[in-house]
């Protein structure tokens, strides 16, 4: 078995998406979601041993595993990172939503020696509010919300983001400052609108 079909498939889908075929993205999405989700969980078990979760390392690994390295177009990689950032956001939001739901539904009893969760009580709510705010931002200014997505959810640095969005690094820095200030305002309730 020289190469497994999914690698071909994913490489092909990436190429199609890059050329503007949106339905390729629909097919790509669940494949990458599964892989990233699985890797994230594995990285999480590493977390217990004091490692931190490096999103870029994680996406890199997904990329190496999913995409056929021999037939890769240089732009595939940045496209892959772009979609991965989006998916990481989705994974975390999905989890946050379920977590918030479980907390509402669970009439937990007081236990003498209880299992301490590392989650701060509001981690899930915070994540969901940020997601909502990002959606509002995307409606006004999709590029700035993408910068936040790539940086915060995808773990990309400004140079990489500039590459993905095809803008200058300066623009990325400016977009980030503005978007972050605005999001902060929304989440802390300082925003008038």
């Amino acid at each position: 078995m020289a190469r497994t079909p999914p690698q071909h498939e994913i490489t092909q889908l990436l190429a199609e998406w890059r050329e503007g075929n949106q339905s390729a993205l629909d097919e790509l999405y669940p494949l990458v979601y599964d892989e990233l989700h699985r890797l994230a969980r594995r990285y999480m078990s590493r977390e217990r041993k004091g490692h931190t979760l490096q999103t870029t390392a994680l996406i890199n690994e997904a990329y190496v595993r999913l995409v056929d390295q021999k037939n890769v177009h240089w732009a595939n990689r940045s496209h892959f990172f772009a979609i991965s950032a989006q998916i990481m956001r989705r994974i975390l939001i999905d989890h946050a939503r379920r977590h918030a739901y479980a907390k509402r539904g669970g009439g937990a009893q007081q236990v003498s020696l209880e299992e301490a969760a590392i989650v701060t009580p509001d981690a899930s709510a915070e994540m969901l509010r940020l997601d909502e705010a990002l959606k509002s931002l995307a409606e006004m200014d999709s590029r700035r919300s993408q910068v936040v997505e790539l940086r915060y959810f995808g773990g990309l640095n400004n140079e990489e983001i500039a590459g993905v969005l095809n803008v200058s690094e300066n623009t990325v820095t400016r977009d980030w400052n503005m978007a972050r200030a605005w999001l902060y305002q929304q989440l802390t309730g300082r925003g008038a609108n």
């Binding site: 494949l31 599964d34 989700h37 699985r38 994230a40 594995r42 999480m44 078990s45 590493r46 977390e47 004091g50 979760l53 490096q54 999103t55 390392a57 690994e61 990481m88 994974i91 975390l92 989890h95 379920r98 977590h99 479980a102 669970g106 009439g107 009893q109 236990v111 003498s112 020696l113 209880e114 299992e115 301490a116 969760a117 590392i118 989650v119 701060t120 981690a123 899930s124 915070e126 994540m127 940020l130 006004m140 200014d141 936040v148 915060y152 959810f153 400016r174 400052n177 503005m178 972050r180 200030a181 605005w182 999001l183 902060y184 305002q185 802390t188 300082r190 925003g191 008038a192 609108n193």
Partner: protein
Amino acid sequence: MTSERWQQVSRIFNSAIALDNDARADYVAGQCGPDESLRAEVEKLIQSHQQASKENFIGGLAAEDGAALLIVDDEIRTNSLEKGQQVGSYVILDLLGAGGMGEVYLARDSRLDRTVALKVLSQDISLDKRRMQRFRQEAKVASSLNQPNILTVFEFGDVDGLTFIATELIDGETLRDYLRAKRLKLGEILDIVIQVLAALDAAHEARIVHRDIKPENVMIRRRDHLVKVLDFGLAKPTEKKLSRMGGEESEAATALKTAPGIVMGTINYMSPEQAQAHEIDERTDIWSTGVTIYEMVAGTMPFSGVTSSHTIVQILEKNPAPLTRVADAPAELERIVAKAMAKNPDERYQTAKDMLIDLRALKKRLEVEAEIERTASPIAPDLAVVGDVVDRKRRKKGVLAIALVGTAVVIAAVFGLYTWRAARVRTTPPESTPAVAPTERILTYWITVQKFKDDKPYQDPFTLAGEINFEASYQIRVNVRSPQSGHLYILNEGPSSSLPKLVVLFPSPTANRGSSLLAAGQLAQIPELFWFRFDREQGIEKLWLVFSEAAVPELEAVKEFTNHRQRGVITDTLKNNAVQSFLTTYSTTKPEAEKGDTLTTLRMPGKILVYPVKLEHH
């Protein structure tokens, strides 16, 4: 905000934050002119910008901030099915057991009206698309080989997010259960491994490596002792190399380190190349078969350390004591096992067939020698030992027996190499072949303590043999291991005297997948992912450790409380009282506790060990 307004605000904002404080106010005032609301908007944003920088708002990574969510959420999700529930065309009849790969149910296939074993894979495995694909493919091929010692797979399915495998139902026990129940005689051991190797030989011919041969994956049918090897292809793939990750540990090594005895099941049967995440091939199965034989003969595993890392070091470096020394085994068997467990795969048996040939020859020789022994000694037919190694069916056939004796004479005369002498067999009492049954329970425990400061881990965790004064900020994890296999239960009793309330900590859906059965050498760690923290109530927390040769009905009955909702609290008064009285009865005799710096070893004569670990906290 309109788009133009937004663009206007951001333009002024971006230029303004590049300026120092004095210049900024002037600049903003100049740019906004009489538009007060624009100025207010910009100033507010600048303030937010400064605050966000100071607080490092979303300055880290989302995955880090939400990391715990990923775990907590998965902890909650377990796929337990109810009796009568329909999964595709299967109706669940009963839960048969749970293991690292998921849960196994007795189910009825309503289409074909047959009873099957339905294995529902845990999310961890079923989410791994590639692994599933490979597993499907390999299990299909293995099953299609029609080798009687390979478990037949009927169907793979995906229904409502559940991934399941329907296989033929075997009325029998795993070799693990078998080993726990009784000491195997040499003849039985050879019968079993010969069948395991026959299965491997067929699979290897079809280029399929099992990857996870161990007593848990070998079943013995009750009716005729037919051996079935389970789970071809299901073991974790380790052949992948992830060295491109620069400085990252290999996947297998990480999995081992982070999830001792949990995700991977036991690691004691792993080959050196597997433990190092090197490429593996058929010879890894040869190794694991060698380890399994060793354990069956010696009664202990050849590689078993206090922690996974210790075990790995042993696998890589240690040569276990020869079987001829630890048990009264034939030198030829020791040679075969040592060859199977050669650290370098090139020095091992290269094929299952070669090993099979040697084992069959040994079996035959022992039968012949026993036959000689029987005919040479007037009282021999009554000796149980002879029965050990003689296939009874053959013994009845006198003609065949004579032919065998003839063969034996030729072998003895021509080669005369073997040291396994009939005289030695005669002097060995049956029970001690191959080893003495344990008459005491042994359990080792230690406690890992993590200090916390502002809800964050602070300093490195340290290990304790138990019993100090715990601060409120200490969070703990309890580790238990035994060289013996058995049923482990851990309960917590709080300090409150008015409310004697018991909480089940182990097993639970997230601890050993709900099974109390602990393999020899397997590490039980609770909680698996997080830490236990003490509540506000000060005093002495008791952690009841129960380690029993057989399952304890009173404790099995309270496993059901370990769901996410009840969190282990035994809410049923009758069941709670039954557990209380069990603990009281069995804790009157205290086990002998041998305290080291970092761990405590408990020894208790008999078949049940009960011990309260006391944790005093303030």
